[in-house]
Symmetry: none
Subunit: 257 residues, 2 copies
C-alpha cells in the first residue's frame, strides 16, 4: 500500500505514550492518511496501549514502520516539514499549516513523496531532527497557551491536508524542472556524510565544541538547497576532486621518494 501512497508520511519521533500514538493514527484515518512511521518510541513497538485509542484505525498501527533514526525514517522522502512550537534560529522557511500543505500538494503533483515530523510529548523535536527538514511548520496558537497534544497536532495538520485536496493539485503544480529529479533525502544524507568525512580528515570542524553547530549549519544549507539528482552526482565529484587530488598529490609525492 505504502509504495503507491503519495500522501504525506506522518513521522512520530520519540513519542512517549502509546495512547498518543493510537490517537494520532485515529486522527490520520479521519483525514485519509495512512503512512505512519515511528522513530524510537519510548515504550517499544508494537505497544498495546495504542490500540484502543486508534479505534478502527488499528490497521494504520499494524502497517506502521519502525525506525531507529529520524534520518532513516525519511530516506525515501523528497520534502520534509518539521513541526515545532518554538523558533529554532535556523534558516528555513517557517510555514503555517496551510502553507505547508500547499507546498506538499505541489510536491505531490510532481510525483514526490513528502512527510511531516512530529516530536515527542515532552520536548518536541531536537535540533538535529529539525535540521533534516526542508521547512518548519508551527501551528498558530494563543501565545498564552501554546501546548497542543501530539495527536491534536496530527489532527490539525491532517485536516489542513485533507481540505487542501482538490484545488492546489491542478492549479499550482509548477512544471517539472527539466530532466533533473529532486534528490531523495537518502541521497542528500550520503552527500552530507561524504563531505563531512572529508572535512573531518582535514580537521575542518575545529575546535571540537563548535563541531555540532558547524555541521548543523552545513546540513541546514544542503536541506534547503533544492538539490537535484544531477547535483548530487556533480557534488560528489567536486568533493572527490578537491579532497581526492590531495590524496593523490601526497601519494604521488610519495611515489617519487
Amino acid at each position: 500500500m505504502s509504495e503507491l501512497n503519495q500522501d504525506p508520511a506522518i513521522i512520530l519521533v520519540a513519542p512517549q505514550m502509546g495512547e498518543n500514538i493510537g490517537a494520532a493514527a485515529r486522527a490520520m484515518h479521519n483525514f485519509a492518511l495512512s503512512d505512519l512511521r515511528i522513530v524510537r518510541p519510548r515504550d517499544g513497538w508494537p505497544n498495546p496501549a495504542a490500540v484502543p485509542m486508534a479505534a478502527s484505525a488499528d490497521f494504520i498501527l499494524e502497517e506502521a514502520q519502525l525506525f531507529g533514526e529520524t534520518s532513516e525514517s525519511i530516506s525515501d522522502l523528497h520534502y520534509v516539514v518539521a513541526t515545532t512550537a518554538r523558533r529554532r534560529g535556523m534558516i528555513k522557511p517557517e510555514l503555517t499549516p496551510r502553507e505547508a500543505v500547499q507546498e506538499m500538494r505541489r510536491k505531490q503533483a510532481e510525483g514526490l513523496k513528502t512527510g511531516i515530523l512530529f516530536g515527542g510529548e515532552r520536548s518536541g523535536l531536537d535540533n538535529e531532527d529539525v535540521t533534516l527538514a526542508d521547512a518548519i511548520l508551527s501551528v498558530p496558537t494563543n501565545p498564552d497557551f501554546r501546548s497542543i497534544n501530539l495527536a491534536q497536532a496530527v489532527l490539525l495538520i491532517g485536516y489542513e491536508w485533507f481540505i487542501s485536496a482538490p484545488a492546489v493539485t491542478e492549479r499550482d503544480a509548477p512544471a517539472l524542472e527539466g530532466r533533473a529529479a529532486p534528490a531523495s533525502k537518502h541521497d542528500i544524507l550520503v552527500l552530507m556524510e561524504h563531505l563531512e568525512r572529508e572535512l573531518d580528515r582535514v580537521n575542518f570542524f575545529y575546535p571540537e565544541e563548535k563541531r555540532d553547530s558547524m555541521i548543523r549549519n552545513l546540513r541546514n544549507f544542503w536541506a534547503r538547497a533544492d538539490l537535484r539528482e544531477q547535483d548530487i552526482r556533480t557534488l560528489h565529484g567536486v568533493i572527490v576532486a578537491l579532497a581526492g587530488e590531495k590524496t593523490r598529490a601526497i601519494s604521488g609525492e610519495g611515489e617519487d621518494t
Copy 2:
C-alpha cells in the same frame, strides 16, 4: 469578561463525559476562546472529571455558564452555527469550518455575537437544536471514518477561528528568515569562481568540450540554492579546507626538496 467578549461562544449540548468538557476547554484556550456554555451535562456541573483535562484552561470551566435548554443558551447571540456530521434535510446553509468562521467574523465586525453548537458524544445535536441555528457546519473528513471526538471538533473550529483573525494573518505570516541575509550576487559569483579555480587546478572540468556545461550546471545549482551570507563564508572555508590542505601538502613537500 464574557460581557465584553465578542468571540464566539462554544456551546456543548448534553455532553456526556467530563473529560471531554475539560479537553474542549483546553482546546478553546489554545485558540483564545473563553465563552463556554454547557446545556444539560449528563453528569451534572461542576464536574471534577473535567478539571485535569482542562490543564491551565480551568478558568474557562469556572466561568462556564450552565443552561437547561439550548434555546436559553443562545438567547443573547445573533448568529449561531450547528455542527453536525450528517445531513439533516433542513433548508439551511451548509458551511465548511472555514466558511463558517468567515461568516462569524463578518457578524463580529458588525458588533454581533456568535456561537457554535456542539452535540453530545453519542448522537450529536438533535433536530430541534439544529433548527435553532442559522447555518450548519460540517467538518470535512474521510467518508470512511467520520468519527471526530467532541474536543477535537472544538479544536478544529477554534483553530479555524483563530487563524481567520486579521491580526493573526499578519503576525503569523512566515517571519523574515532569521539573522542571515541573502547573499548578494557578487558574493555568489566570488564563491563560484573560487570553487571553479580550485576545480581547474585538479583538472575537474575534463574533457575540455564538457567544461562549459559542467560549469553551467554548477552555477545553476548555486543560483537556486538560496545562499545566505553565512553559507558563503562557510563554503569558502570548506573549499579552502579541502583544496588548501592539498596545496599545503604539496608545498610542504616542495619545501623538503
